[in-house]
């Protein structure tokens, strides 16, 4: 096999300097030919295993972006969807209707587990964070398989008493469902950044339509990314 020095160094996760020195010292079964490193893949893999290194072929090597980095609010919200006129008179009922509107799940069973874990979280302490907003979420990430993190936004038909911190009735829910705690914190940080913005809250109270809503979110995402 033939690879450039830099590519091979990246595949072995070492610096090009180290790789070059190892080749020169004859510590690695690779030879330099012109501008390329020549090696036999099986023997290099065997060598890598014996030396506590890992060989990741350069094609597949698009290193998995560190969790939570690439995602932004708008993408998560688009995945979760935006729903209006969610029915219900109590916390249980609005959550039930909110969960039922989620489209990412295949089976009723998944919805059922989510509903139960959301309620369990509410019993612990209300997720109504004030100003009429609540962020229902499970306490620990649930195992939904390969479903990426999403936020489902539900505008309620009638504001509900949510036992929120400021005792105000809640008119909008952001259902925050994430496969990992890290992703959860990442999205929560962005969401909380938005909700600190009075103008945004004001914007929400007017129940914006889908395009205006996502445009606004994108704008806030941008503001979050550029300090």
């Amino acid at each position: 096999m033939k690879l450039a020095l830099k590519e091979l160094a990246a595949a072995l996760n070492i610096t090009p300097n180290t790789l070059e020195r190892w080749i020169r010292q004859g510590r690695i079964p690779v030879r330099i030919k012109g501008n390329h490193c020549v090696f036999s893949l099986p023997s290099l893999q065997k060598w890598a295993v014996a030396n506590n290194l890992a060989y990741k072929p350069p094609g597949a090597e698009a290193l998995p972006v560190p969790e939570g980095q690439a995602d932004n609010l708008r993408a998560a919200m688009e995945r979760g969807g935006l729903y209006y006129n969610i029915e219900g008179e109590s916390v249980e009922e609005v959550i039930r209707s909110g969960v039922n509107s989620i489209t990412s799940f295949d089976t009723q069973g998944q919805r059922e587990t989510l509903y139960e874990s959301l309620l369990a979280r509410e019993e612990l302490m209300s997720t109504g964070i004030g100003k009429g907003v609540a962020i229902p979420h499970p306490r620990t990430p649930l195992d939904y398989g390969e479903i990426p993190a999403f936020i489902t936004t539900c505008f309620l038909k009638n504001p509900v008493d949510y036992k929120a911190v400021d005792r105000q009735p809640v008119f909008v829910l952001f259902l925050l469902i994430c496969p990992s705690s890290k992703r959860h914190l990442h999205l929560l940080a962005r969401l909380s950044f938005c909700l600190r913005d009075e103008e945004f809250i004001n914007f929400l109270t007017h129940t914006p339509d889908q395009s205006a809503f996502f445009k606004k979110i994108e704008e806030l995402d941008h503001r979050f990314d550029t300090p």
């Binding site: 450039a4 020095l5 012109g34 501008n35």
Partner: protein, 276 residues
Amino acid sequence: METRLLHIFRNTPLGREVLLQSTYFCKTIGVNPVIYIPEFIKFLMYFENDVAQIDLDGSYLIAPETARAHAVEIVRSQGLPEPNFIEPKNFTASTLPDIPVNFDFMCCPRTVSDLSSKIGLGYIGPRVRRIVQSARFPVLIAGTVSKPWKSVAVMFGGSANAINAFRLGARISRLSGLPMNVYTQLGKHSLDYYKDIIQKKNLSRDMDQYVQNWEVFDAGEFAVNLYNVPHDALVVLGAYGHGVIKEMLFGSTMEKVQSVLPNNLLIAGPKYQASM
């Protein structure tokens, strides 16, 4: 990471001219000069697969007490910050220091081991040749008198070394912002052959971007045609790795060029790897 040029300083008027050329080169393409003031008449350079002993001409050891101040003065006079100096850390024998080789360029006059009276066209000393043969960095061969250059002239003969030289020339042209000209002497092959090589080696973009003019000599002797190379150009060329006998039999571009052109020469040896 910073790019560095190694200069062996000799504290004589000739050495001053050579250092002025180094400094001009460094200033033009943004390289930091690193200066070694020899304390011993010889030193070793451990290359990748070769060790070269450089036996210097005695004039390198002249007036050691003023050498450092002179070197600093010359470099600063060209508007560069104070240069770094090498203090050899390792010694193979007590009077035989090892000089590191992890540089990006090195500057030499045409000869370092023989008396400077030999410096002239057509002669490149055995030690300088050895460095060119073994080093991974290109070697800047300075003239006897410093003279600024205004363009880059690349000798392109189609071989692997010539391709390296082309890349090196493009790099110099990019870093300095100076125009680049390419010179090719047609021999056995037609122009299309060379164009094909440029195409195959992904050099077309560099060709369009940096090269001002590709001058092709299709008649006459190479040595005569070299008159067309501007007097104020840095000549970039590749050197072969083959031995003396082959060189005597077939001649080589490098020998022709170095015996005709008094310009500053930047020679990429066989170990130089443009992409690495």
